[in-house]
């Protein structure tokens, strides 16, 4: 298993750094151009949420290769912060990308770009979102 990559999020430049790093890992794992774009864009969406809405705009990103039985390798990205958390994850997932500012904005769009998305969040305990994409 390849080593995982950890990046801090502390401001706008880290949005670009995180999505570039994710694209590089995706490229190395032989994902195609469209999947590289999907993965980089998903990371951009999630890290921007951290910069905009988490406490002091701070958080962290972990990028790693993942394996599962009878599957080609995949990529997993975990974006976490210690911000205010998402009060209603279900509602955040129903809201459209254009539904205005707020926590969890753009989550449904991000999910559509990936194969899997898990959200662990609640008021006052931060947010941890894991996204995965598998090679076909």
């Amino acid at each position: 298993m390849a080593a995982e990559l950890q990046l801090p999020i502390a401001g706008e430049p880290d949005i670009v750094a995180a999505r570039q790093a994710a694209r590089e890992v995706a490229k190395r794992l032989c994902f195609g151009m469209v999947d590289q774009s999907r993965i980089a864009t998903a990371v951009s969406e999630l890290t921007r949420n951290v910069v905009r809405y988490a406490t002091d705009g701070r958080g962290r990103v972990v990028i790693r290769e993942v394996a599962a039985p009878a599957r080609k390798p995949g990529i997993e990205i975990v974006v976490a912060d210690d911000g205010p958390g998402i009060a209603d994850v279900g509602e955040a997932m129903r809201a459209g990308v254009t539904s205005g500012a707020g926590l969890g904005m753009g989550l449904p769009g991000t999910k559509r770009l990936m194969d899997e998305m898990d959200i662990d969040s609640g008021p006052g305990r931060g947010t941890m979102i894991s996204i995965r994409k598998w090679q076909r």
């Binding site: 706008e12 430049p13 949005i15 670009v16 999505r19 570039q20 694209r23 151009m33 469209v34 590289q36 774009s37 999907r38 980089a40 864009t41 951009s44 969406e45 921007r48 459209g96 990308v97 254009t98 753009g106 449904p108 769009g109 991000t110 559509r112 770009l113």
Partner: protein, 130 residues
């Protein structure tokens, strides 16, 4: 020095969007284009995004807002060179850039703008003739 220089070519402003703009650079581009439209009286904006590999919802919205703002100033906007992978991603993201004219490349985009300028002139001529 802005990260996206704006060129003037006849009645058209041309900006080549750089890869991996920070959010504030994108906003700066929007403001600079609006200012330049007002100052120069240009009638069209050609936005070349052919080297941009990642268009997320933020940059997508800025592109849309540039087009909407230009329209309020009486100018047309054409976004050219969207990479195929970016196009697929934008649709899945749910951001289809409604109301934004697009063309495959700068040449085709300029042709679209020329057509729009001619239509505008014809309409102005017709309303004067009444």
């Amino acid at each position: 020095m802005p990260r996206v220089p704006i060129l003037r070519f006849g009645p058209t402003l041309i900006a080549t969007v750089q890869e991996d703009l920070y959010d504030r650079d994108a906003l700066e581009l929007q403001e600079a284009l609006t200012t330049e439209l007002e100052r120069s009286g240009a009638r069209g904006v050609l936005l070349d995004v052919s080297i941009v590999e990642t268009v997320d919802s933020y940059l997508g919205r800025v592109l849309r807002d540039i087009a909407l703002g230009a329209r309020l100033l009486g100018a047309h906007t054409v976004v050219v060179g969207i990479q195929p992978a970016v196009a697929v991603t934008l649709v899945e993201l749910g951001l289809e850039l409604q109301g934004v004219r697009t063309a495959l490349n700068p040449e085709k985009g300029l042709a679209v703008l020329q057509r729009l300028y001619r239509t505008d002139r014809a309409q102005r001529g017709a309303s004067r003739g009444r």
